[in-house]
């Protein structure tokens, strides 16, 4: 992948096993967020393929076209600032009858809305945002917005989640909530690609780790990767111990 001649990464090949959590780590500027943008269709790769369920996603087009099976969070959050916390989640539910102006008065719309509100409230409770449900999204702290973005992506029902630095800016005391949430998603059978800088999170939930630095320099279990000499030299700086 390159932008105006600047090569971000090349020869990147790795797998994200279905129903598992794969952590993608690497130094700043390695292209982790770029990889997510590419996978979600924001821009096409300069070359190569991105396979999911037997389909090549590369160049399929818009993020919207892929959203039924892929959901993502953004590195810079991107909540809907003037909507309330719970409205941010409600927007994400797919197939709402009330999203069609001709059906807003129908009973199906009302029932779906009630159901979605209950589901949204439960999701918010799991990440400790239940008390903030009625607040505007731009009024809650940055770390809470990160959790909101995670819940919103989950609400889409997509089987694959691409999560970009979910715990960055989050209070340390809330990290265990995120780990429990991710484990629950895995138990549901969701596939997760997790971009992270927090090694506690990586060792806490990841089934496998991929290290990106111009190309893939290591891939394996957390134990294998975090003891890899090149990873220590190019990224960690030391042997990580939990």
């Amino acid at each position: 992948m390159h932008f105006d001649g600047l090569v971000v990464f090349r020869d990147v090949t790795f797998g994200v096993p279905a129903g598992k959590i794969t952590a993608l780590i690497g130094p700043n500027g390695a292209g982790k967020s770029t990889l997510i943008n590419m996978t979600c269709g924001v821009f096409p790769p300069a070359g190569g393929t991105i396979h999911k369920d037997g389909r090549d996603l590369a160049g399929l087009g818009s993020p919207r076209a892929l959203a039924s099976s892929l959901a993502r969070t953004f590195q810079n959050v991107r909540v809907f600032p003037t909507l309330s916390v719970i409205e941010n989640v409600l927007v994400a539910f797919p197939g709402q009858p009330g999203d069609d102006p001709l059906r807003i008065f129908g009973r199906a719309a009302k029932r779906a809305e009630e159901r979605n509100r209950e589901h949204a409230a439960l999701l918010l409770e799991r990440v400790g945002l239940a008390n903030d449900a009625g607040r505007r999204a731009d009024e809650i702290p940055f770390g809470s917005q990160k959790l909101l973005a995670l819940v919103r992506a989950t609400a889409t029902g997509a089987d694959t989640l691409l999560l970009d630095e979910t715990t960055t800016g989050l209070e340390i005391s809330r990290v265990p909530l995120v780990l429990d949430f991710l484990r629950a998603l895995r138990a549901e059978g969701r596939t997760i690609l997790l971009v992270e800088h927090n090694m506690d999170v990586v060792t806490g939930v990841a089934d496998s780790v991929v290290v990106l630095h111009g190309t893939v320099i290591a891939e394996g279990t957390p134990q294998q990767v975090l003891h890899d000499e090149q990873v220590i030299r190019d990224y960690l700086g030391r042997i990580y111990s939990a």
């Binding site: 993020p63 909540v79 600032p81 409600l90 102006p101 807003i104 719309a109 919103r152």
Partner: protein, 286 residues
Amino acid sequence: MDYFFFVLSVICVWTILSLAANLVIGYSGMMTLGHVGYLAIGAYTAATLNILGHVNFYLTIPIAMLVTAVVALLTLLPLLRLDAFYLGLATLGLNIVITDVLQNIGPRNPGAEGLYGLNLPALMTIGGGRLAVIALLTAIAVFLVWQLVRSPFGRSLRAMRDAPDAIESLGKSAQRYRLIAWTISGGLAGLAGALYCTTLSYIDPTIFNFLFSFNVLVYIGFGGLASIAGSILGPTILIVFGEALRFGGLPSEISGPVQQALYALLLILVMMFRRQGLVGRFDFRD
């Protein structure tokens, strides 16, 4: 008493047009500087059908709404990818084109430059009856728009306004919401136009000057962006204020310019101290 009914009727018409403009500006984050062009289409459709086509006036109302909605949709399609500033400029041009077309080849009574002689239903030939019909239709429009913006559609519309890329990532098309909101807005402008021509004795394109579109911006800027109450309060307060100036002892030749100057001053003050308007819920900084 007729004057009182007339002023209230005009307030209702501008309330509907303010709702239409707020739907695309406040709720959708787009910009329009030419919605009076759609008002003109609604007025001309209703008046032409009634005066030249001898169609019952009540029937001309839904036809005017449909025609204006379709025109709104077709005129937005080539402009859909423009951001708010350039869209605003384009709609300004659109307003001028619409009034120019109506002026040069628009329908008119034989020998006249415009249309006159609306054949209104009996109830609407008296001031109170006309106000009752206009007020009822305004109340219905307010209720429907209120329900629309409270619905999941309205919620997605506001989300699209806030972050179009984020809503695309959820599988929803930002362009779809823009198109639907604009089309509904066009229909509302058509309704306002059809009702507006009942308050006029003579309908010609010069009435629908693009400067009138600025009045709509003032009404919703003052009343409140992304607010149903603001769409009602803005025109109500400002039109009453403007009419009150007539009784303030100003000579008639300067009361109009003074009114415009006071509107402008009011708008400047609101933009400086309360950008979202009296009861608005959205600020373009958001």
